[in-house]
Amino acid sequence: MTEHTVEVERITKRFGDFTAVDTVSFAVGKGEIFGFLGPNGAGKSTTIKMLCGILKPSGGKGHVNGHDIITGQERIKESIGYMSQKFSLYEDLTVRENLEFFGTIYGLEDGRLAERVEYALGIAEIGSRVDNVVKTLPAGMKQRLALGAAILHDPPVLFLDEPTSGVDPIMRRNFWELIYELSRAGKTVFVTTHYMDEAEHCDRIALIIAGKIIALDSPAALKGSLDHGVYSLRTERFIEAFDLIAGAEFVDEAAIFGSDIHILCAPGLPLKKRLDDILRGAGHGKYRLEKIAPTLEDVFVTEARRHGV
């Protein structure tokens, strides 16, 4: 049985009357990429803050890298890397000055510092721009540099808070390759996101809504566990059709995807027949219905409904 790098048991955080995180438990192993998926305000950030040693939980217990999340906050800070959605290197310092500053803050010195700075420069593919002021770098390079700065001190656990928001798809892909590499090197990576496609990259995902983890598994298993039929419907005048479908009592969830309508309904329901009844009646002559594989978004939406959100 391998020791978990991160393990929390029933941690809770209350702010006054408001419970931001409610008895959350999970365990993450070495090298795992673990995703937190949830809407804004669901408690993702609060959970991450408790794991980073910034916030003290109101209840529950846990450890990160063997340091207790209540008594070992300072130790935890030294042993984690953190990168936030907001670019947070100093724009008015050069690449090297930034890296050297963050290195020393984490206690790196001399040879070791120089070695790690070189490593981070390599990750960010900075090339000849080491002495350029950071604000002159392109967005993708800045983002990789932020990642490089976060892992300067070689932390075993890395927290990425919506790391790819505002980055174009190619850079995003590029960035995820870096994260896979780190994971293969044995780093445990936490990612919070509200992008479904980003969540697909994770080994396991925790769906978090209203402070509670409502589902936790691999993306494939989560999709497989969906006890709903998922269909895609294509028709002309789809806006009118959508209003009809969304209002029908046998439809659990309907959403527009481009010019298609995705329909979630109970498994085994004779959907075609039921749709005929309402659509034909309203003059929608032809339409095409097709059963499709559920996406994480479908899972998310269904789970959210089930938990009354």
Binding site: K49, E74, S84, E91, L93, G107
Partner: protein, 389 residues
């Protein structure tokens, strides 16, 4: 204090300081902003702050037109305080002059003045003074009193002399009666510049140290870089110390620069110990910088920080004794001034510059200043530590 020191690691702080200094001085604009305004303001105010009453513009309406009346008018013009710029012919001309401010003071000698004086009656003159600025008017009236008194005394003496000569008696020598010799201590010339200019040091430093410190922290919060600091092992004390230290150094250099301008350029006498001025200046900058920290932790944006700073500056300056003496404020307000760091430093500066006193006399002010600084620093540190959450 020991706990404060323990919460700071030398190497980390040095690295943090290096970064702060780089950021502060990388920007050419910033390098100028830090030093130029205090110097420019000092020179500008040095020339403009002058409460001395001199060159009072004067108009004369001499209806008597005799040797005696001319002699009286000459007393005024020769005094050095009055500049006669109009000689009038009619009382009707007086009002417009006062209205436009062309004359602040009008001397009216009535017809028959010389005759009345010669015949032993009281010759009267009328003086009209622009009372808009009450303290200036009071000084003008004092000058007028002095000049007319001297004039009438000398006139009397002359008369006595003539009478005695006629009777063949011995002549009284020189001035008679009781003469007062005033000697003013600490500011012998009673130059208002000597009183106000050193105080400028306190004003400029509170602006520089408070505003720059507050802005620097809020800027970091706005940029989001503070988030990266919060997750790092950098401790709150280290962060706060690192954030305020560069501005303390800048403030310290400003003390030297500004004092040099005051002493060497404006020739304000400096009677105390420069070392004591520097040491207490450092305490003052620490307190102002802590005020900046305090403001920054209650502001979200740079505009908020700016506004809060100015809300602090106005009362801090007006209730410091810089312009209005504290003893003439209502008692409740006087109590409030005990919380005002500027008040203490103004007292220290004036003591050091003019009276030449030092620690033995000023230790209470210095202690109060330091206590306010430590309290503000402590509250800010706590606020920051809690703000992390």
């Amino acid at each position: 204090m020991r706990a404060m020191m323990k919460a700071i690691r030398k190497k980390t702080v040095l690295s943090f300081l290096r970064k702060e200094f780089r950021q502060l001085f990388r920007d050419r604009k910033m390098r100028i902003v830090v030093f130029a305004p205090p110097i420019v303001m000092m020179i500008l105010f040095g020339y403009s702050i002058n409460m001395d009453v001199a060159s009072v513009s004067m108009a004369v309406l001499d209806q008597d037109r005799t040797a005696v009346s001319r002699a009286l008018v000459e007393r005024f013009t020769a005094s050095g305080y009055f500049v006669p710029n109009r000689y009038l012919d009619s009382p009707r001309e007086i009002d417009p002059l006062l209205d436009t401010g062309e004359a602040e003071f009008v001397l009216v000698v009535e017809r028959g003045f010389a005759n009345r004086v010669k015949s032993g009656l009281t010759g009267s003159i009328q003086t009209l003074v622009d009372g808009t600025d009450s303290s200036r008017a009071a000084v003008i009236v004092a000058y007028v009193n002095q000049i007319t008194q001297e004039f009438s005394q000398q006139y009397l003496l002359g008369r006595i002399r003539t009478v005695m000569l006629n009777k063949g008696a011995a002549l009284p020598r020189g001035r008679q009666g009781i003469g007062m010799q005033e000697r003013f201590l600490f500011n012998p010339d009673l130059a208002s510049r000597n009183f106000f200019l050193p105080g400028m040091l306190a004003l400029l430093l509170v602006l520089v140290a408070t505003l720059l410190t507050a802005m620097s922290i809020v800027r970091e919060r706005e940029a989001g870089t503070i988030e990266q600091i919060v997750v790092s092992p950098l401790r709150p004390m280290e962060y706060i110390a690192g954030k305020s230290a560069p501005f303390m150094l800048v403030g310290f250099l400003d003390i030297i620069l500004i004092s040099a301008i005051i002493i060497f350029w404006f020739r304000v006498p400096f009677n105390g110990s420069f070392l004591f001025l520097l040491a207490s200046g450092l305490v003052y900058i620490f307190t102002c910088s802590s005020m900046g920290l305090f403001i920054s932790f209650s502001s979200r944006t740079q505009q908020q920080a700016m506004l809060s700073s100015f809300l602090f500056f106005m009362p801090a300056i007006l209730l410091s004794g810089f312009i209005f003496p504290i003893y003439s404020m209502p008692e409740a307000v006087q109590l409030v001034t005990y919380l005002n760091p500027v008040r203490y430093f103004i007292a220290i500066i004036r003591g050091v510059f003019l009276k030449g006193v030092g620690f033995a006399v000023l230790w209470k002010d210095l202690a109060a200043l330091g206590a306010i600084g430590i309290a503000l620093f402590y509250f800010s540190a706590r606020r920051f530590a809690r703000g992390i959450e």
